[in-house]
C-alpha cells in the first residue's frame, strides 16, 4: 500500500523528514517480498509514491536505489522495473539515476569492490530491458570493457574481470542487445572467444575440489560461463528462468524515452588494485541425482548460472542471520520448476569447499544447513545425506584442504543430530589400508566427534567392525608412572619434583631440585649445568603435566605458575624443540590437549613459531604427519605469527598518525609561548622515539615471519624431494597416499596464507623455488603465482 504520512500514534501533525526517509528506505527495500497484492501492483503503487516524493526527497531516493542495486542483486529485476517506471514518469530522474550509478560504479572499482561492481553493471544492462538505457550505448560500454583484453602488461585477473562482467550480463540482456546490435555483439563475442583461448589457466588444478573429470568436471569459471553463453546464443537468447516484472509493464515502458550511457573508460590498472581471484565452478549434482520432481538444469545452461548467482547473493546478503538466510533460500522465486533443495545444498558446499577459502566462516555453513533441515525436515536432510554419501564416494580425488573441511563439517553436523549415521554403508573403508582417503576420513571424523562428546560415546555409535578407526582414549601417558619405571633416569627426581609441587614449591626451589639431574648430552666440563638438558625437561614437564592432567584449565595454570622454570629450560632452540617432544609424548593420545598447550606455550613465549614448525616436520613426528591435528596446529601457529605482525604494524600506524596529528595541530596553533613549544617538542621527541622502536619491532617481527615460512617451505621441499628421488631410483609410482597428502599440504600453506606469502615472493623464488627444483614441486609454486597474474 501507499506510505502513510501521518502515523496515528504520534501527536505531531506532520512526520519528521527523518521518519519519511526511513519509511522510504523500508518501502523500497521491502518491495518484492511476500505480500497480499501482486508484485506488479506493489511496484505500480511504489512508483506512484516515489514520484510524488521526488520534489522533496529526490537525492535520498537516488541513494537508496543505488544502494539496493549494489547490495540486493538477487532482486535485480524488481528494482530495474521500478526504475523503469520512474523513468517513464520522470525522464530527468531516470537520467540522474543513470549518472549516479556510473559514479557509484567508478567508486566501487576504485575501492576494489569487484563483486558489487558486477551487480551494478548487470543492473545497468537490465535497464536496457526497461527502456531506461539505450541498447547501443550499453554495447559501447561492453566494447570498452572487452578492450581491456588488449591492454599490455596487466595482470590476467584484470582483463578476466572485465570479460566476466560482460558475459555475466548476457543472460539478462543478451536477447535485447542482439536484436538491436547483432553485428557489434558478434564482434564482441569473437574478441572474448579469442581472449579465452589465449589466457593461461595454470592456476586451475590448485583451485579444484576434485582432481577427477568424472562425474562432473570442475571447470574454470570463465570457461563455464562462456559455454553457458554459447548455449544461450544457440538457443537464440531464449531465457525463461529470470523473473522479469517489466514485461507486464511493457506498454508503459516502451513509451519512455531512453538515456545513453556516457562513454565509460575502465579505470587504469594501478599497483594497489586487487582483482578477484579466479575460481572453479563447483558441481556435484546433475539431472540424474534428483529422483523425482523438476529436472535440474544442465551444467552449461544459463538457468544454472542464474540460479547459482542468485543463491550466492542471498547467502551474501543474509549470512549473519541463519534463520532469515534459510527462509530466503527456500523461498527462491520459481522454486517449483527446479529441484531447489539440490541447488541450495550444492551452492552451500560450493562455498564451503571454495579454494583458497570460503567466502564466510565455516561454522556459518553448518548452522545454515541445520536451519534448512529444520525448515524442510521432510526433504532437505535426505538431500544432505545423499550429498554426504556422494562426497564420501569421491574422497580419493578430493583436495586435502576440502577433505579437512568436510571432516569438520560432518562431525559438527552429526553432533547436532545425536551422531546418527548409517556407518555400515561405509564398511568398504575397512577393506583398504588405513592411510587411504576413505578410512582416513572416517578416522578423522570420529576423532572430531569424540572431541564434541567423549570416548565411550564414539564406541557406542559405530559398529564393532569399525573399532580400528576409533580414536584412542585421550589419556595422559606418564613416563615415570609406577614402580616398574624406577630404573628410568630421572625417576627419583620425578618423585621429588612431584612432592615439591604438591608442597607449593617456588620456581627457584624447583630449579634447585632440577640442578641435580645429570645431563645425558653433556661433557663433564659444563660448569653451571645451565645448558640444554633434555632430561631436566622430561622430568619436570612430564611431572608437571601429569599433576595438571585433569583439565585444560589445570594445565594452563601449571604452565603459568612455573613459567620461569619453563623459560629457563627452553632458552635454546634445542630446548624449545624438546619441550614440544615431551608434550607430545605425554599427550599423544589427546591431540586436542597438545594443540591447546602448544598454543599457550607460543603465547607465553616458552616456544616460538619456528620451533613448532621444526617439530611438525621432525622425523619423530613422521608417523603423525598426515593427521589433521598436526596441520591445525601448524596453521594456528602461522596465524598467530601473522596476527602478531599485524598488531605491531597497527601500533606503528597509530603512533605515526598521532605524530602527524600533533604536528598538524602545532602548525595550526602558532604558540607564542616558548614553554608551550618546548613541551610539544618533547612530546614529538617521545613519539618519534616510540615510532623508531616500533619500526624496529615491526622489522624484527616480519623477519621472524619470513623465517617461519622459509623453514616450512624448506622442510616441505626436503621431504618431497626425498620421496620423489626414492621413487625414481626404485622405479616406483610417486603417487602414494602420503605423497598426495604432502603435496596438497604444501598447496594449502600457499592458499591459506596467500596474502602474507605474496610479500615474500622474491625471497622464495631466489632461495627455494628455483628452476633446479623437481618439476612436481615447482608446479605448486607456479600455480600459486598464476593466481594473481
Amino acid at each position: 500500500g501507499a506510505a502513510r504520512r501521518h502515523s496515528p500514534h504520534k501527536r505531531r501533525r506532520t512526520s519528521e523528514p527523518i521518519e519519511i526517509e526511513d519509511r522510504l528506505e523500508s518501502l523500497i527495500c521491502r518491495v518484492g517480498e511476500k505480500s497480499t497484492s501482486s508484485l506488479e501492483s506493489n511496484l505500480e503503487g511504489l512508483a506512484g509514491v516515489l514520484e510524488a516524493d521526488l520534489p522533496n526527497y529526490k537525492n535520498k531516493i537516488l541513494r537508496i536505489l543505488c544502494a539496493v542495486a549494489r547490495l540486493l542483486p538477487e532482486k535485480l529485476t524488481v528494482y530495474t522495473t521500478l526504475v523503469g517506471l520512474l523513468n517513464a514518469r520522470n525522464y530527468n530522474f531516470g537520467g540522474e539515476f543513470v549518472e549516479a550509478m556510473i559514479r557509484q560504479l567508478k567508486e566501487t572499482l576504485k575501492s576494489n569492490l569487484y563483486s558489487e561492481a558486477v551487480y551494478l553493471v548487470r543492473f545497468l544492462s537490465d535497464l536496457v530491458n526497461c527502456h531506461v538505457i539505450a541498447a547501443p550505448s550499453m554495447v559501447a560500454m561492453f566494447e570498452n570493457f572487452v578492450s581491456v583484453t588488449q591492454e599490455e602488461d596487466i595482470p590476467q585477473v584484470r582483463s578476466d574481470w572485465y570479460v566476466y562482467a560482460v558475459l555475466s550480463c548476457l543472460p539478462w540482456v543478451g536477447k535485447e542487445l542482439y536484436e538491436k546490435k547483432d553485428v557489434e555483439m558478434d564482434r564482441l563475442l569473437n574478441q572474448i572467444d579469442g581472449y579465452l583461448k589465449r589466457r593461461q589457466k595454470i592456476h586451475v588444478p590448485m583451485l579444484q575440489v576434485w582432481s577427477a573429470e568424472k562425474p562432473h568436471p570442475q571447470e574454470e569459471y570463465l570457461d563455464c560461463l562462456w559455454a553457458q553463453v554459447q548455449k544461450l546464443k544457440k538457443d537464440r537468447w531464449q531465457e525463461r528462468h529470470i523473473l522479469r516484472p517489466y514485461i507486464a509493464f511493457d506498454s508503459v515502458l516502451c513509451e519512455a524515452l531512453q538515456h545513453n550511457l556516457p562513454p565509460f573508460t575502465p579505470p587504469a590498472h594501478s599497483d594497489d588494485a586487487v582483482y578477484p581471484m579466479p575460481h572453479v565452478v563447483f558441481r556435484m549434482f546433475d539431472y540424474t541425482d534428483a529422483p523425482e520432481g523438476p529436472v535440474m538444469p544442465g551444467s552449461h545452461s544459463v538457468e544454472r548460472f542464474v540460479i547459482e548467482e542468485n543463491l550466492h547473493c542471498i547467502i551474501k546478503s543474509h549470512w549473519r542471520e541463519r534463520k532469515t538466510c534459510a527462509a530466503q533460500l527456500l523461498s527462491y522465486p520459481g522454486k517449483n520448476k527446479i529441484p531447489l533443495n539440490y541447488h541450495i545444498v550444492e551452492v552451500i558446499f560450493g562455498e564451503l569447499f571454495q579454494l583458497p577459502s570460503p567466502p564466510h566462516i565455516e561454522v556459518m555453513y553448518t548452522a545454515l544447513l541445520i536451519e534448512l533441515c529444520k525448515l524442510q525436515p521432510g526433504s532437505l536432510p535426505q538431500v544432505l545425506a545423499q550429498a554426504t554419501e556422494m562426497m564420501y564416494m569421491r574422497l580419493d580425488t578430493m583436495n586435502t584442504t576440502c577433505v579437512d573441511r568436510f571432516v569438520s563439517w560432518f562431525a559438527h553436523h552429526l553432533s547436532n543430530f545425536q551422531f546418527r549415521w548409517s556407518w555400515d554403508d561405509w564398511a568398504d573403508c575397512l577393506t583398504v589400508d588405513n592411510e587411504k582417503p576413505k578410512p582416513k576420513f572416517v578416522k578423522e571424523v570420529l576423532e572430531k566427534c569424540m572431541r564434541l562428546s567423549y570416548h565411550q560415546r564414539i564406541v557406542d555409535i559405530v559398529p564393532p567392525s569399525f573399532s580400528a578407526l576409533i580414536p584412542a582414549e585421550p589419556m595422559f601417558q606418564y613416563k615415570y608412572e609406577d614402580e616398574s619405571n624406577t630404573s628410568l633416569p630421572g625417576f627419583a627426581t620425578a618423585v621429588t619434583v612431584t612432592n615439591a609441587i604438591k608442597n607449593r614449591a617456588s620456581n627457584e626451589e624447583i630449579l634447585a631440585v632440577l640442578k641435580e639431574i645429570p645431563n645425558p648430552n653433556q661433557d663433564d666440563d659444563d660448569d653451571e649445568g645451565d645448558g640444554f638438558n633434555p632430561l631436566k625437561i622430561d622430568v619436570f614437564l612430564q611431572t608437571l603435566l601429569h599433576l595438571a592432567a585433569k583439565s585444560f584449565s589445570h594445565s594452563f595454570s601449571a604452565l603459568a605458575k612455573f613459567h620461569e622454570v619453563l623459560k629457563t629450560l627452553t632458552e635454546s632452540d634445542e630446548g624449545k624443540l624438546h619441550i614440544l617432544k615431551v608434550v607430545y609424548e605425554a599427550w599423544r593420545k589427546h591431540p586436542q590437549m597438545i594443540a591447546v598447550l602448544v598454543d599457550k606455550m607460543i603465547r607465553t613465549q616458552i616456544v616460538d613459531c619456528a620451533a613448532v614448525a621444526n617439530w611438525i616436520f621432525s622425523s619423530d613426528m613422521a608417523h603423525d604427519f598426515t593427521r589433521l591435528y598436526m596441520w591445525e596446529i601448524l596453521h594456528s601457529t602461522i596465524r598467530k605469527m601473522n596476527k602478531h605482525v599485524q598488531k605491531i604494524q597497527k601500533e606503528l600506524e597509530e603512533a605515526k598518525d598521532k605524530l602527524e596529528k600533533q604536528q598538524h595541530k602545532k602548525q595550526k596553533d602558532s604558540g607564542d609561548e616558548e614553554d608551550m613549544e618546548k613541551n610539544s617538542d618533547d612530546e614529538d621527541g617521545q613519539l618519534e622515539e616510540q615510532i623508531e622502536r616500533l619500526q624496529e619491532k615491526v622489522e624484527s617481527a616480519q623477519s621472524e615471519q619470513k623465517n617461519l615460512f622459509l623453514v616450512i617451505f624448506q622442510r616441505f621441499i626436503m621431504l618431497l624431494t626425498e620421496h620423489l628421488v626414492r621413487c625414481e631410483t626404485g622405479s616406483v609410482d610417486i603417487n602414494t597416499s602420503w605423497y598426495k597428502n604432502c603435496i596438497e599440504r604444501l598447496q594449502q600453506i600457499f592458499l591459506m596464507h596467500h596474502v602474507i606469502i605474496q610479500q615474500y615472493m622474491g625471497t622464495l623464488e631466489n632461495l627455494l623455488f628455483t628452476a633446479e627444483l623437481d618439476h612436481h614441486i615447482l608446479a605448486v609454486y607456479q600455480q600459486f603465482c598464476a593466481l594473481q597474474l
Binding site: 526511513d22 528506505e25 523500508s26 527495500c29 521491502r30 541513494r63 537508496i64 543505488c66 544502494a67 539496493v68 547490495l71 540486493l72 559514479r103 557509484q104 567508486e107 566501487t108 546478503s317 549473519r320 542471520e321 541463519r322 566462516i361 565455516e362 561454522v363 556459518m364 553448518t366 548452522a367 541445520i370 569438520s408 559438527h412 553432533s415 547436532n416 545425536q418 572430531k448 572431541r451 564434541l452 562428546s453 567423549y454 583439565s551 585444560f552 584449565s553 594452563f556 586436542q592 590437549m593 591447546v596 598454543d599 594456528s636
Partner: protein, 164 residues
C-alpha cells in the same frame, strides 16, 4: 555511496539481550556499555557433565578461545551447567552468537549471551542450594542437571520422621 540501509542488513543475533546481572557493580548504562564491547559470553543450559574440552572444541570454531571458566556449584564446587567463554576479539564472539547460540553441545541446545566480563566469584551459581537459580525452582526432570529442581526434590522426599 556508503548508505547503510538499516532496514536491510540486520544482525540481530549479536544484539544484547534483556538480561542484566543484578550483582554488577555499576549502573545500567555502564553494564550495557561493557556488554556492547565484550569478548566474553555466558553459556547456559549445559549438562553438568559437559567438559571444558567439549566447550573448547565447539567454540573454537568461531575463533581462538582465550579462556573458559566452568560454572561451579558454590557448595559442592562441581560443574552446575553454565560457563563463560572469552575470546581474544569481539568479532569472534559475535560469530559464536550468530552460529553457536541455539545449537547443540553434548546433545543439549545451549544458549549464549553477552557477559560484561568475568570477575572472581561469578563462576558460582547463585541459587540457594549452591547451583543455578533456574535449578532451584524448575519442576521438570532433567537427568543431566541433577534430576528434579531443588525445590521439587524437597517436595518429593518424604517428611523426615519426627524425633519423638
Amino acid at each position: 555511496m556508503s548508505i547503510k540501509l538499516n532496514a536491510l542488513f540486520s544482525d540481530s543475533y549479536i544484539d544484547i539481550s534483556q538480561y542484566r546481572d543484578q550483582h554488577f557493580k555499576g549502573n545500567r548504562y555502564e553494564q550495557e556499555k561493557l556488554l556492547k564491547q565484550s569478548c566474553t559470553l555466558y553459556v547456559g543450559n549445559l549438562s553438568f557433565y559437559t567438559t571444558e574440552e567439549q566447550v573448547y572444541e565447539l567454540f573454537s570454531k568461531c575463533g581462538d578461545v582465550k579462556r573458559i571458566i566452568i560454572g561451579l556449584d558454590k557448595v559442592k564446587k562441581t560443574a552446575c551447567g553454565f560457563c563463560f567463554v572469552e575470546y581474544y576479539t569481539r568479532a569472534d564472539a559475535e560469530h559464536a552468537m550468530r552460529f553457536v547460540n541455539g545449537t547443540r553441545l553434548d546433545d543439549r541446545i545451549i544458549r549464549t549471551d553477552w557477559d560484561a566480563g568475568f570477575k572472581e566469584g561469578r563462576q558460582y551459581g547463585r541459587g540457594k542450594s549452591g547451583g543455578q537459580v533456574r535449578d532451584e525452582y524448575r519442576q521438570d526432570y532433567d537427568p543431566a542437571r541433577g534430576g528434579y529442581g531443588k525445590l521439587a526434590q524437597l517436595q518429593r522426599t518424604p517428611e523426615a520422621p519426627h524425633k519423638f
